[in-house]
Subunit: 422 residues, 2 copies
């Protein structure tokens, strides 16, 4: 066995505006250590690429293409929603992974994802012990949901938060202009099935210099129609209009998603998704005022054009640190962002034990949500502000579009004779 | 009567990311001609401000506040949806306007809006003849719908177009990453009830360097479910995914909006709006693939953070030209953008007769839409490219939010004893 080992890197789960910045950090740092790390092979579509021996040779990409990942949203190598079962349940999968790693001399495993992916990464890290094959598995944090424990925040979140804060401010300015004779309530649906971090970012649109009436509906707070309508009505009375930021994960008293309570098509079939139109119809029924609603969906997590600079820096730094940890001989760890000061914002990279990361969700602290349940507290603002601070614009082409890189993604020649079905 | 006259300026209809840039052009240019123009009084909430004598004294605003309008979306003085009837039908309204103009020594009337507002402006321009009160009415073009005649494009459109093009590219990168195990179709609903200009902008997301499979649903093309599904299926087969940009104005064969065909709430009430979920349910039913959908709504027209530079320049220049036309003694005209070259893009300001502008809609030329009805042609690209070219970022605050100005909007003291109900 040579001392130089190749590295495997893959992206997992919902992609973000800055996950490629982490990829850039991993690949650039690996390239700077050619004495220890041979090539970085990326899994096409996450762990599926490893299982099917569908590897991408990132060494075929130019330095400038890899650098351009820093300003390109989405997952450059493809992502997947695929969770490995336990070693006991799915021995064949793990044997296959070992075979692929062996065949391609892979000694470092970098997995870039959220909570589920941290679990996958942890399982891989245990292969060294259980199978004797020497592999170091390092998790690179990523999730717009911001729900990983230990790390102060998750790369990907800051940029969504900035997008939602900026968009809420802009749309609120719009509805304020229209309120006298037209729209009085604007409703923006945002992501966050379990935790209200993204919805909370909508609250940042309002500040002492630019007060905006905003009602936030958090998944953490059970929807109370009466209280909600009362709050909206009060704001309309005082400001002439009201903006509502609603998390897709808001639930009614019966525990069901509010989004599922509403829409049926002409044939009576339930319609998937869209809590915004449900809230809109409640506003219409109870207040009778004109409303508009928007659903940001993928736009929010892909919006590299308005990414937060601190988020990009976090994403890149965790990629760099992951490789450095691997070179330091670590296994089953994750670079975590440690905040050392709110103002001025100071942070460093710490090390989190993957066992303490996998399958744990960090919810919004209750003291981040205002007493009435419809807003954010000063504490929450102090937490969020540094994460949405700073812009990091991508380059633009002559035709007015952002110049996002598409890699060549040249496959590594397969070495195993048998295929593997996932 | 003094030679120095005051000016009235108001914003009308749906606001845009750059209508305030036109306001800035009007006010700054008026301020540069204090020998001819006294004060600029803005109507609070459009023409309603004139009718109710609710005028804002813009001279109370600092030069820097007025300059900041150039980077602030929405209507700084409030807008309205309110159309004046003909002189015959509504003499009292016109008499009231004359009384307000007289009381405040207003000799210049600048109205910033779309087709309906051009009609209002034209009616005001005729007051000079019909009532003998000397007033010059100049229309300042504005509409995200891009449907005013004569002018090459309408301030407000270029920025929406840029937002939709950028967002479509970003979301398409996202779905491409997810397509193997998750979302295969992404649907983005955009504005444009009558004309497909905004939907066309989605097509700009794809270009030879960055090909993206996009199916556009135009209001100009009757929705054909079979052909649509066939086109989407082909693109999924070839690229693994497909993006759909759908105009809110798309109609079914029976002439009804596609948006109105779908959703009912749990009680069977029809739901307002949202063609995206209707298209999503068609995709689900006919193809059975996973989809995501977004509705941009106000976000698209308020998105000053990604405004097109050429659009900002057009908006400001038409405001400047409106005042210059007034000073040149013109009445019943509108500054129009005249394109003199596609590449390099060159333009100048011309003069349009308001009679030829009011109540006429400029539709998308059929040769801007591809033969299959689902895409844009080279001709359309040549037209759109200069309008989305260049960025013009607003300043940002320390907390990560764009710094948008809010004017003091100090009212002018009322001079008329009687109130007027609108």
């Amino acid at each position: 066995m040579t001392k130089i080992k190749n590295a495997f890197y893959a992206q997992s789960g919902g992609v973000t505006a800055v996950i490629n910045a982490s990829a850039c950090g991993v690949i650039e740092t690996a390239r700077a250590h050619r004495d220890r790390i041979g090539k970085v092979y990326a899994g096409r579509n996450g762990i599926i690429g490893a299982l099917t021996e569908d590897l991408i040779d990132t060494s075929k990409e130019s330095a400038s293409a890899i650098a351009a990942l820093k300003t390109t949203p989405s997952g450059a190598f493809g992502s997947c929603r695929y969770k490995l079962k336990s070693l006991e349940e799915s021995r064949a999968q793990y044997e296959r992974l070992i075979n692929v790693f062996k065949a391609h001399n892979i000694g470092y495993f970098f997995y870039n994802g959220g909570g589920d992916s941290a679990d996958t990464c942890l399982k891989i890290s245990q292969l060294a012990k259980t199978t004797g094959y020497p592999i170091q598995a390092i998790h690179v944090p990523k999730t717009v949901d911001n729900d990983l424990p230990i790390t102060d925040n998750c790369p990907g979140f800051g940029s969504v938060a900035k997008y939602i804060a900026v968009s809420t401010r802009e749309a609120s300015f719009d509805v304020a202009s229209m309120a006298l004779t037209s729209t009085k309530v604007f409703i923006l649906e945002v992501m966050g099935r379990h935790a209200g971090w993204i919805a909370a970012a909508g609250g940042m649109a309002s500040d002492p210099k630019t007060p905006i009436p905003i009602v936030i509906l958090f998944p953490e707070i059970t929807f109370d129609r009466k209280k909600f309508i009362k709050s909206v009505a009060e704001k309309i009375k005082r400001f002439g209009y009201c903006s509502v930021v609603v998390s897709e994960g808001v639930r009614a008293k019966d525990g069901r998603f509010l989004a599922d309570q509403g829409l049926r098509d002409a044939f009576g079939h339930a319609q998937l998704g869209g809590v915004a139109p449900v809230v809109a119809s409640i506003v219409k029924e109870d207040l009778g005022v004109k409303y508009h609603w928007a659903v940001a969906d993928y736009l929010q997590r892909a919006a590299r054009h308005i990414a937060s600079r601190s988020d990009v820096e976090h994403a890149y730094a965790t990629g760099v640190a992951a490789v450095e940890m691997a070179l330091a001989g670590k296994n089953a760890v994750m670079p975590a962002i440690i905040r050392t000061s709110d103002q001025p914002y100071r942070w460093k990279i710490g090390e989190a034990d993957l066992k303490r990361v996998a399958n744990r969700e960090k919810m919004m602290p209750r003291n981040f949500i205002s007493a009435d349940g419809f807003g954010i507290t000063e504490r929450c603002r102090r937490y969020l502000a540094p994460l949405i601070r700073g812009e990091d614009y991508p380059p633009y082409e002559k035709n007015g579009l952002p110049s996002y890189v598409r890699l060549k993604n040249i496959p590594v020649k397969k070495k195993l004779s048998e295929a593997f079905k996932v």
